[in-house]
């Protein structure tokens, strides 16, 4: 009986959505998204950079770790990337209750831009890359729960040099250097569900550009699965897969 009620309820939710789906103009939405990307391309690519950044503390007992972003960073965005994480202080090591302190950082470079440079006669150089560094302080508030707070500096760089000038909106352009950077404050909570299995939720707030990002992550010994939400972004929800090893 309970199952019947639940199924009926789910159907009652889905049916109105299906009936309204026909009224959705996906073409107009796609045009709008394309316009937003053109208006601020660095902000769009900056969101992918945040997908590969590691902003959770090392698991208790681990000293260092490595991470590489797989989706949507390496695939399909061709961000070759590597991050490292090192524990500066284990919780309670120097003094009882003193929080764990981790330092982390990483670098990425877009492979597609290298291929474009090699295959195009007009492009002299095209570089799309970024780096970040963060400090994460974590403290146990119960045997299964840690809260963590931190600071992150994150920088994206985009530069283009052409062999000859091209006309862009009436201006002759031979090169440009653009970028996006912000100082982030981080606050989150981590819950251990079983041995080597965690989930966490965190907020990243960029204080210069008011960049907002929320991350929900489930992670184990090798992989991290996440949902990153950029409420002011172009693609608001990013499903994320990262690979990591901690020692």
């Amino acid at each position: 009986m309970k199952k019947t009620i639940i199924y009926a309820f789910i159907l009652s939710i889905i049916m109105p959505c299906i009936s309204y789906a026909s009224s959705i103009d996906l073409g107009a939405k796609a045009t709008q998204l394309a316009g937003e990307i053109i208006a601020n391309p660095t902000a769009f690519f900056y969101e992918f950079q945040q997908d590969l950044e590691t902003t959770t503390p090392l698991p208790p007992g681990k000293t260092y770790g490595f991470q590489t972003g797989i989706f949507p960073t390496l695939l399909p965005a061709t961000y070759a990337n590597l991050s490292g994480k090192y524990r500066l202080h284990g919780e309670g090591r120097i003094s009882p209750g003193l929080p764990q302190l981790d330092i982390a950082g990483g670098y990425w470079n877009m492979i597609a831009t290298k291929i474009a440079t090699e295959q195009s006669k007009d492009i002299n150089s095209l570089d799309f890359s970024g780096y970040y560094i963060d400090l994460i302080m974590s403290s146990s508030v119960s045997p299964k729960i840690r809260t963590f707070y931190g600071y992150k500096y994150s920088q994206l760089k985009a530069s283009l040099k052409l062999n000859k000038a091209v006309d862009i909106a009436g201006a002759q352009v031979t090169s440009f250097d653009a970028g996006f950077r912000d100082d982030f404050l981080i606050a989150g909570i981590e819950h251990i569900t079983s041995i080597n299995k965690f989930w966490s939720i965190q907020m990243n707030y960029g204080i210069k550009e008011q960049v907002l990002a929320s991350k929900i992550s489930w992670y184990g010994k090798y992989f991290e699965f996440g949902l990153n939400i950029y409420p002011e972004g172009i693609l608001v929800i990013h499903p994320v897969v990262n690979f990591h090893l901690n020692f």
Binding site: I13, P16, A28, S139, M203, Q210
Partner: protein, 412 residues
Amino acid sequence: MKKVIIFLIVLTVLFFNSDSFATTGEGSKTFSPYFDMTLSEGAFIPSDGNFFSGGNIKTQVGLLTKVNPSNSIFGLYNLHYSGPGFQPQDSKQFQDRSLSHGFNVEYRRDIIKSLKIRPGISYSKEYRRTGANEAWENGLYNMDSFGGQLAADYYFDFDRDGILTFQYLTRDVKFPNYTDLLREFQGAGYSSEVSGGLQDQTLNNISIRPKWNKFFGGLTYIWQDYKNERVIDSNGTYGATRQKDENITLDFGFHHILSILEMYPVISYTMHTSNQNYVRYKYLGASSTNLLSGSSDVTFIKGNYNYNELNLNIPVDLLITSKWAISGGINIVKRDYTDRPPRNSNNNYDFNSRQSNTLTTISGGIRKQLNDISLFRINYSLIVGSSNNTFEKYLPYNYTGNSISIAYQITY
């Protein structure tokens, strides 16, 4: 820079917090952290116009410091992002979004066993913007607020959580970017009037709230004294009187579980009055000799902002298992303006009636308790907005909307 300093202070406090966890037992903690985060993201399909998406993020990070059994200090940082979504009539556009930071510090002192006082200070900063390319810093309605509070809790029934709370709040509210565009167009001469600060105000709030056996209610009186904004006289020009707004709200509700039925209905009634009037210009540069005609190009409306509002919210959760629940509910907001006539589609007033807006939301969904501290919701809502005001060039009044949203909440 201010935000960084305040956050570093919070970090420092939290840093010291952990030491006490290690040295004290669970029941005698000197420091108790508080963490609450809610994420929600939804798709919105209005009856007229394109579908859009929007989300809400609420994050609260707090720390309760028990100095001794009778004295404690509670600090709380609050971040709230509110994205695009369906909005009540006469409020804001669907695409408007806001971002606010709030800092509160409250000192709690037990005078006697049954009486506690809670003085405190508060600072908040809110950004608002209407377009994706508008910088947060430039929002017309960006707001800074600073003030204090004095609250007293009287415990009259310890067994059934009977508390009577009296609270007084005061806020100095500033809108640094706000300006009156019409005044700028019409009289570039008086620059002092248009250089911002027209909405700056002092806000005061007195409330008395009883709570007993999971029943609660309250009477709240709010008054806002505007520092610079003046009242428009019947001749359509600003006079010498400064604007003053008042709100009186009565509310009642309860939160009870009957078998597998969890109910938490709330009903409230608000009476809002303002001495501010309104002049409607049909177009830039419009003029009229008869300001009291509803169809003239310029019309004066006395008491335009006065209204009475009834808000009825009845959420119900059906607790299927200890982890799963089916949720449903209805929310009705009915606002009746006491003096403002409705407008027709040609922007003409009908003085034979008064504007009345109703917004009804019917929702249903599923809630799952994921573990001790987190839950997940999926929710569908049908929103019906109706009004006898049919002038909808700037704000929608009559619309139907569907939304489906997911929400994730964690509380520790």
